[in-house]
Symmetry: C2
Subunit: 216 residues, 2 copies
C-alpha cells in the first residue's frame, strides 16, 4: 500500500479514494484526446467509465471547477490538470532490479507505454545477463547499483527480484537515495518514512479474483 | 476493479474493505505456519502487519469468533478459514494468453508460488513461439484457444496481450466459458455479468506512486 502522508501542503486536500480514481480518469481523457475530442460532459464520461455522472462531478470538483454548465469539461485542460496533480508533469528516472522475465516485462512496458518514466539501467546478479541490452538499456552488475543510483540521481527503484532478496534490495535503494519504490516481490517491505512505496501484489489480486468467482 | 456482486448467499456479509485485507492476513498466517507458530494474538499480528490490534479483532470477528481471550488465534484454523472464504480451498485451471515477457513472468510466478492455481496452457499468435514449452506447459496456437478452454473446463483466462487485442481475447475467453479474467492489459474490458474480472493496471499503480512522491 502507498504511504499516505496526510500532511500534504497542496491547496486542496483530496481524499485517497479520489486519488485512486484519477489515473483512470486520466486514461480515458488520454483516449478522448487521441480521438480529437475537445470537450466531454459528466454524462458522457459516466457512460464511458461506469461511474455515475454525479460521482464524476463530485470527483472533478475537488480540484477547481472547470466544468461548465451546458458545456462540460475541456478535455485538454482536465487532462493537464489531473497530470499535474498526479505529479506527471515531470520526468522520473528509474532503475529495474532483476532482469528476469518480470524485469524484462516491466522494461518493455515502460519503454513502450510510459513516457515520463524512464528506465536508466537494469541491475542483475546473474553474470550471464550482465552486459546484455534490453530495450536499449544496459544490464549492469548489481554490485554497482548504489553508486549508480547516487550519481545518476535515480528517483524510483523497481524491485523485480525473488521475495527473499527484496528487503535487501529495498534497503540499498533507499540508502542510495531513491524517493520511490515500485515493488513486485510478493512481500511487504520496510522502508524509511521519506520514501514512497507502491506494491503490486499479484497474489492478493489473484486471491481477490478467486473470492469473487467463488461467491457466484 | 473486481465486480462486486452484492447478492452473496454466504452466511456472513463481509465488506469489500475486509475482503481486500484477507489475502494479506493469509500471507502473514502462511509465514507463521511455515515457522511452526501455532497461535498468535491480535497484538502480535498488529506488530507484524501494521494494522491496529482493534482493527484486526474487528476484521477477524467478521467470520466466526475463534479468537479466544488470553489465547489468541489458532494459526492453522484461521489460515484454513480465510482460505475457505477466499475460495482457495479448491483448484483453479487457468490459461495464459500471450507468451511474451509478461506472460512468461506470470507463468513462472504461478508455477513457483501459487499452488491451487494451475496454468494448463499458454496461447500465442506468434508462430515462432507456438510449440515451445514454458515451465512444463505447451505454447499453443491462439486459434485453438476456444475449443481448448471449453474441453478442459478452464476457470480463469489470464490476459497478457497488447491492449489493442485485449477485448477480443476477453470476448473469446468468456464465450468459451471461463468464469474469471485476470487482466494485465492497460485497458478496461467489457465482460458479461456472470464473469468476474480483476485488473492489474500497472499504469495506475505507477501513477499513484508518482503522486505520493510529488506530494512530499
Amino acid at each position: 500500500m502507498p504511504n499516505n502522508n496526510g500532511n500534504s501542503k497542496e491547496p486542496a486536500r483530496i481524499s485517497n479514494a479520489v486519488i485512486k480514481r484519477l489515473p483512470r480518469y486520466r486514461r480515458y481523457l488520454a483516449e478522448l484526446r487521441k480521438k480529437g475530442v475537445e470537450k466531454v460532459s459528466s454524462n458522457e464520461l459516466s457512460r464511458l467509465m461506469g461511474y455515475t455522472a454525479s460521482q464524476i462531478r463530485q470527483d472533478l470538483n475537488n480540484f477547481g471547477g472547470f466544468g461548465q454548465q451546458g458545456y462540460g469539461y475541456n478535455v485538454n485542460d482536465l487532462y493537464g490538470e489531473i497530470s499535474g496533480i498526479l505529479g506527471l508533469d515531470r520526468n522520473y528516472k528509474m532503475v529495474i532490479v532483476g532482469a528476469g522475465n518480470l524485469g524484462q516485462a516491466i522494461a518493455n512496458y515502460t519503454y513502450y507505454y510510459k513516457t515520463g518514466f524512464i528506465v536508466d539501467a537494469i541491475f542483475e546478479v546473474n553474470p550471464k545477463m550482465i552486459g546484455l541490452r534490453i530495450n536499449d538499456r544496459n544490464v549492469l552488475d548489481y554490485e554497482d547499483m548504489v553508486p549508480y543510483v547516487e550519481e545518476n540521481k535515480i528517483d524510483i527503484g523497481i524491485i523485480c527480484v525473488p521475495k527473499e532478496n527484496a528487503q535487501e534490495v529495498a534497503d540499498k535503494l533507499c540508502f542510495a537515495g531513491v524517493s520511490g519504490i515500485w515493488n513486485f516481490a510478493p512481500v511487504d517491505l520496510e522502508i524509511p518514512p521519506h520514501v514512497s512505496i507502491e506494491n503490486v501484489h499479484l497474489s492478493d489480486s489473484l486471491h481477490s479474483l478467486a473470492y469473487h468467482m467463488s461467491k457466484r
